[in-house]
């Protein structure tokens, strides 16, 4: 296990809270300004609404969102969800730049779906894919003595979440550190975490297949090359040995995997690396190949490009 990163210093604390104060004060002034603008009726001259009254109707595209809103702009129901969110005390999600060791992963990028959530100290290695609606939280903290680092001090450290290379975390899955015990999550290479599975404070080895809706509780260990059937509930303290098939609630061993089945564990993760690359390219709107797809579906590619440029 790599040593956990050091926590924020006193100066960083000071800077963080000072910045927060300034931001809140600024937002207050902003709101006062918007209220005043709305009261005087001049909100109609707002830039967003000016587009609506533009003489050229072809310019009225998706931006007319502002037109059917209330004048209180700070009350916007625009979603505040961010895919990657830092937590000050724990750190921020990051994509590892380590050289990949798996042949499938070479030349790929991690795919992180826009509606998934990565919070706190989460490390995503090359070729990993986080699918739609998944929640990954690495914000828990644990006393140093509990992990055998520093027996003298009472300090707390963060052990975040590590997603190994070529691992796929499928839709609606939850991976989080255990909020009660503070244990982090380590997931090895080429693991498939099925739909709606939840892994809380557990360690998972390489090339494991975690079936759909499975639950792995805090303190459990799943060793490399094992298979958890759909709906398995592994309790804390249970150890799933290498090359075994487990199922049920509470989980128990069903049988050993054959050589053929062990090979299939590799196949699944490899396919997901390829599939994730296709999704990653589609998310970057405006790619040449994707423009064709959009045209075929009747989307005006020109509009899409404009919005993309505007964001920059």
């Amino acid at each position: 296990m790599p040593p956990p990163p050091p926590g924020p210093t006193a100066f960083q604390f000071f800077r963080h809270y000072l910045g927060r104060c300034i931001r809140e004060t600024g937002q207050m002034f902003d709101r006062v300004g918007l209220r005043g603008e709305a009261a005087s009726g001049s909100w109609k001259s707002n830039k967003a609404t000016r587009i609506m009254s533009s003489s050229d109707p072809s310019k009225i595209d998706s931006l007319n969102w502002a037109a059917h809103q209330e004048p209180w702009l700070f009350d916007t129901p625009l979603s505040r969800h961010r895919t990657m969110m830092p937590v000050f005390r724990a750190g921020q999600p990051r994509i590892s730049t380590d050289e990949p060791t798996m042949s499938v992963v070479e030349g790929t990028t991690p795919f992180i779906a826009p509606c998934s959530t990565l919070v706190g100290d989460v490390t995503v290695h090359q070729g990993a894919s986080i699918w739609y609606g998944a929640v990954i939280r690495g914000d828990t903290h644990i006393k140093k003595e509990k992990i055998g680092l520093d027996k003298e001090s009472d300090e707390e450290v963060h052990i975040g979440v590590v997603i190994g290379e070529g691992t796929n975390v499928q839709d609606n899955a939850i991976i989080s550190g255990c909020p009660y015990t503070g244990l982090g999550v380590r997931i090895g290479k080429g693991v498939t975490v099925g739909h709606s599975a939840s892994i809380v404070g557990a360690t998972v080895g390489d090339n494991v297949l975690v079936g759909m809706g499975s639950t792995i509780s805090a303190g459990a260990v799943v060793e490399s090359g094992s298979f958890l059937a759909a709906g398995t509930v592994v309790r804390g303290g249970q150890v799933v040995k290498s090359g075994e098939l487990w199922a049920g609630q509470p989980a128990r061993k069903l049988k050993d995997l054959t050589e053929k089945q062990k090979k299939q564990l590799f196949y699944q993760a490899d396919e997901y690396v390829k599939l994730s690359q296709r999704h990653a390219h589609t998310m970057e709107l405006g790619g040449e190949e994707d423009e064709e797809v959009l045209r075929m579906n009747g989307v005006d590619v020109g509009d899409v490009k404009t919005i993309d440029d505007g964001k920059k």
Binding site: Q27, K59, N64, L78, R80, T117, N172, P250, D309
Partner: protein, 268 residues
């Protein structure tokens, strides 16, 4: 002009459909309406019909690209009530008649749906990631089909709770399903993956688990303190997350930036 007329024409069927649907609903064409709530429902329907028609006419030129989902949403006149220190994740959804007491936290992607009846979360309780708490219209026992969680209740990730009553100091493991009409007493621990069938009762000071839920063991005297400690730890974590968000959203500034970009390029 050609462009606008084209897009307008393409939207006309949608608008008409919405109009006819609203009219049908208003005239009471779709099923039997419950007795007690007719006036309010009807008011809401009229307002909704007008709003939707206006909206359809206004967005006829294009489509929304921004996600306008909100963490807090009023439904049929009842708005969620929460305290100043409640943490609601931006991707969580709290709808309708929901009351959240002090120090509660609703974590990422969970859904609290107070549509048929009310939901109440006691102090220091937390609903962790991707939980669903919802209500059903009516219980066969005749008791109100509300969801009531006491103080110091930790609902683990991926759990589903429908119309149940839960006492104080309870830990609900991850992936637990609690059926409607169930009553869970105070000082209870439910193992991960427990399935509590409908209309079941779990007595206090015990640990239950399995599918269907069965008795495992009695809890020790110190269990209550541990359960409360766990709930407090989650609350401390929630405070860390709470600090990351300003009191109001800044998303509209992003919209302004997009618009300014458009103007800067001379497209307007």
């Amino acid at each position: 002009m050609q462009n606008l007329s084209h897009s307008l024409l393409s939207k006309v069927p949608n608008t008409l459909r919405s109009l006819s649907r609203q009219t049908k609903r208003f005239m009471g064409g779709g099923g039997v309406e419950p007795v007690g709530v007719v006036p309010r429902e009807r008011n809401v329907k009229v307002g909704r019909a007008i709003k939707e028609t206006g909206l359809a006419a206004k967005v006829a030129g294009g489509e929304e690209v921004f996600s306008v989902r909100r963490p807090l949403m009023p439904l049929l006149g009842s708005t969620p009530v929460l305290s100043n220190d409640t943490f609601i994740a931006p991707s969580a959804t709290v709808i309708g008649d929901v009351t959240l007491y002090d120090y509660t936290s609703i974590w990422y992607s969970s859904v609290l749906l107070g549509d048929y009846n009310s939901i109440k979360l006691g102090g220091m309780s937390n609903v962790q990631d991707r939980c669903v708490i919802s209500t059903i219209p009516k219980l066969t026992t005749g008791f109100p089909s509300t969801v009531t969680l006491g103080n110091y209740v930790s609902v683990g990730p991926n759990s589903v709770l429908t119309s149940c009553t839960i006492g104080d100091n309870v830990i609900i493991g991850e992936g637990t399903v609690i059926g409607s009409g169930s009553v869970i007493s105070s000082n209870v621990i439910l193992e991960p993956g427990t399935i509590v069938p409908e209309y079941s009762f779990i007595p206090g000071d015990q640990k239950w688990g399995g599918n269907p839920a069965s008795y495992i063991e009695d809890l020790s005297e110190h269990a209550t303190d541990d359960i409360q400690g766990h709930a407090k730890q989650v609350q401390l974590l929630a405070e860390d997350h709470f600090e990351e968000y300003l009191p109001y959203g800044n998303a509209y500034r992003h919209l302004e930036e997009v618009v300014e970009g458009e103007i800067g390029e001379g497209k307007v």
